[in-house]
């Protein structure tokens, strides 16, 4: 009797897992055309991002996940960018050509997207600048219901290895920008606001964004 109950329990767990797996779907991203004239040289290093050959592996997200950030309000630590508009972050144009990216000033800067309502964030895709091989420093991505990011902050990604941005030391990997952008897994982090930090890049002191997509579902 006990054995049959155990078998039944295991079968139920298996069925539930299968059902959950069936709810997971690959996140579909629309990618811009590559802008590199040449291919950046691969760097095979354990503490840095390894180069990948072929297609980026699918990131599985819950069924019903949508782009929540399209057309949403964007604010920034640099409210008056010299080049571009903050609206470029969520306008759907990630081509990376002139006139499609916003340029924020030097020193650490952040951009913040107001999703309009609290959401369960599955993934965040970011295109900083992809017409040249460069690495953005101290990239930190956070989700919160507090627009000032003082409480209830979930850090999705942090590669600030020396804590120069004073947001805590990060252990994530630095990466070279390319046309695929960077896909951060948010694992259902809850929040209405998504904030992204950076601190210049390997080419200049400035901070750029072509597009940011926040994929998830509105919290019920």
């Amino acid at each position: 009797m006990k054995r049959s109950r155990l078998s039944l329990l295991l079968a139920l767990i298996a069925l539930t897992s299968a059902a959950q797996a069936a709810d997971q779907v690959p996140l579909k991203l629309e990618l811009p055309k590559p802008l590199f004239a040449g291919t950046p040289r691969p760097i095979q290093l354990p503490n840095l991002e390894k180069p990948r050959s072929g297609k980026r592996p699918d990131l599985m997200v819950p069924a019903g996940t949508v782009n929540l950030s399209k057309g949403k309000t964007v604010t920034s630590s640099d409210p008056l960018p010299v080049i571009g508009e903050l609206t470029f972050l969520t306008d759907g144009d990630k081509s990376g050509t002139d006139g499609t990216y916003v340029e924020l000033g030097p020193t650490p800067q952040w951009v913040q997207i107001d999703l309009g309502a609290s959401a369960k964030v599955a993934a965040i895709a970011v295109w900083h600048f992809h017409s040249q091989a460069r690495v953005y420093h101290d990239v930190v991505v956070q989700v919160s219901n507090d627009k000032d990011f003082k409480t209830g902050v979930t850090t999705v990604y942090n590669n600030d290895d020396d804590n120069s941005s004073k947001l805590g030391k990060g252990k994530d990997l630095a990466y070279i920008e390319n046309f695929e952008g960077r896909l951060f897994e948010a694992k259902g982090a809850a929040g209405r606001y998504v904030r992204l930090y950076s601190n210049g890049n390997t080419s200049d002191e400035l901070n750029h964004y072509c597009e940011v997509e926040v994929h998830g579902s509105v919290a019920k």
Binding site: R41, I83, D98, Q132, R134, S203, D204
Partner: protein, 487 residues
């Protein structure tokens, strides 16, 4: 106006132009990271300063005046070693020379009248190329200033016939030659323009003697510098041999610096680059109007300037080898021509309004080029410029050597300038440079180019933390920092 105030009203504007030129050229000089060429030359200054050593290298370097000119500034600032030398000291050389150049242009343009000469000086004082390269430790601004000084002295000699002026002009020509091998291009253009435009004879009664004096002064001055003031006689031979290298580089079109014919003129045009607008159209149009005025009037200086500038534009444009710092040679001519156009306007208020508008637009561009985006790849004057990341090297090196005293900092890269400048305070025994990965790559800090990073990683022992550092746009390095203390 009271007569006693007349000199003030006449000379105060010039003083203000000179002060503006000085401020634009000296304010916050250390802000921009060192370009590879600046760093390389600053290291040579350090060697001269600390060890008194200098030997002219005809292959990859220009003349010696830049290095020697840095010495008195370093001494005045209490810097006697390469470690104590800083960006401000070396950049003060072109900055002060550039300011002097503005005053010399005023003197040269004085035959146009006081106000047009003042306008010419003001236009040069705020010109983006002039300001940018007066804040940049390369030879070009020094060459322009020596050239203007030679012209002013020659102009005075022409009028007075006094030998001292022609000797001074010759000495300035010698300084030009001791600054850069391209000096004869500008001297020859000036002489051709003079021969075409001016028919009258100079005031000197002993023309041959004066020309011999000038030539002698030029040769003596150039020889003193190229021979390192008599301590390196081979430098005299190398001063001539440099033309083999420079000529080959300029003519063969294999240097990697080849650009289209219209490149220099385009710098004075209108275009967008990565969202930034670069334009000097108003200045260029005013100069073009001055070109027309030059041939519509009998003003000799204006005609000479028009022809000289045209010759230089053609010569520079026909040379396949082009770099943006050569644009500074066009600015004095354009400024005089623009001043000539202003002088031709029928009403002074109109001339003042046009001059103010052009100056405003030029200041705006200078602000963008020299202060807002001085090392930006979109800045036409920031040519293959170092990334601001390079300034992190000093702190990384200091902390690495503090962690592991006695260990070596290794730079393993096919290109590494300006890193030696940022590592100049590190004892020579503690830093090494390799163009390919050596057998032993371990060190207190290992900086490898992206090309060599894989091979370097394979040869490292123990745990290293890794991060990226940009040498310049598109050229990435990987910085390996030992996690554990080296044995």
């Amino acid at each position: 106006m009271l007569p006693m105030f007349a000199p003030f009203s006449r000379w105060l504007p010039l003083a203000l132009v000179a002060l503006a030129a000085l401020w634009l050229r000296t304010h916050d000089l250390a802000r921009r990271p060192m370009h590879a060429d600046e760093a390389n030359q600053a290291i040579k200054v350090g060697d001269l300063l600390e060890h008194g050593r200098y030997a002219f290298d005809p292959r990859d370097h220009h003349g010696p005046t830049l290095y020697y000119a840095a010495l008195p500034i370093a001494w005045a600032r209490g810097q006697t070693t390469i470690a104590s030398l800083d960006e401000t000291t070396v950049r003060l050389v072109p900055a002060l020379a550039g300011t002097l150049g503005v005053l010399l242009l005023f003197a040269l343009a004085s035959p146009l009248g006081h106000w047009p000469a003042l306008a010419a000086a003001a236009l040069m004082a705020v010109a983006p190329a002039s300001v940018y390269y007066s804040r940049y430790f390369v030879q070009e601004t020094l060459l322009v200033t020596f050239f203007l000084a030679a012209l002013v002295c020659a102009q005075r000699w022409w009028r007075t016939g006094r030998s001292s002026w022609i000797i001074a002009a010759g000495a300035c020509a010698g300084l030009m030659q001791a600054t850069k091998a391209s000096a004869p291009l500008f001297a020859a253009s000036a002489l051709i323009a003079l021969a075409v435009v001016v028919r009258a004879r100079p005031a000197s009664a002993r023309l041959t003697r004066d020309l011999v004096l000038a030539l002698s002064a030029a040769l003596v001055v150039a020889a003193l510098f190229y021979s390192s003031f008599g301590t390196h006689i081979t430098g005299l031979h190398d001063a001539i041999a440099t033309y083999t290298h420079a000529g080959g580089r300029a003519a063969t079109g294999t240097s990697g610096h080849e650009k289209p014919f219209w490149y220099y003129l385009s710098l004075f045009g209108w275009y967008r680059e990565g969202g930034l607008l670069w334009q000097q159209l108003a200045f260029a149009l005013l100069a073009a109007a001055g070109f027309v005025v030059a041939f519509a009037t009998r003003q000799k200086l204006l005609r000479w300037t028009a022809l000289y500038t045209l010759l230089v534009v053609i010569a520079l444009s026909l040379t396949p080898y082009k770099t943006p710092w050569h644009a500074v040679h066009l600015v004095p001519g354009f400024a005089i021509l623009a001043a000539g156009a202003l002088a031709a306007l029928p009403f002074r208020p109109l001339a003042l309004a046009v001059a103010s508008g052009v100056l405003f637009l030029q200041i705006n561009q200078t602000h963008l080029a020299a202060f807002l985006r001085p090392a930006d790849a979109r800045n036409p004057y920031a040519y293959v410029h170092s990334s601001p990341d390079v300034r992190k090297i000093r702190a990384l090196a200091d902390s690495a050597l503090a962690r592991t005293p006695g260990a070596t900092i290794r730079v393993i890269s096919e290109e590494y300038w300006p890193l030696p400048w940022y590592l100049r305070a590190v004892p020579a025994a503690s830093v090494g440079y390799w163009s390919a990965p050596p057998a032993d790559c371990d060190g207190a800090l290992v900086i490898a180019s992206a090309t060599h990073a894989v091979a370097v990683r394979a040869r490292l022992h123990g745990d290293y933390h890794e991060s990226y550092l940009g040498l310049r746009p598109g050229f990435l390095c990987v910085v390996f920092t030992p996690v554990t203390t080296l044995p």
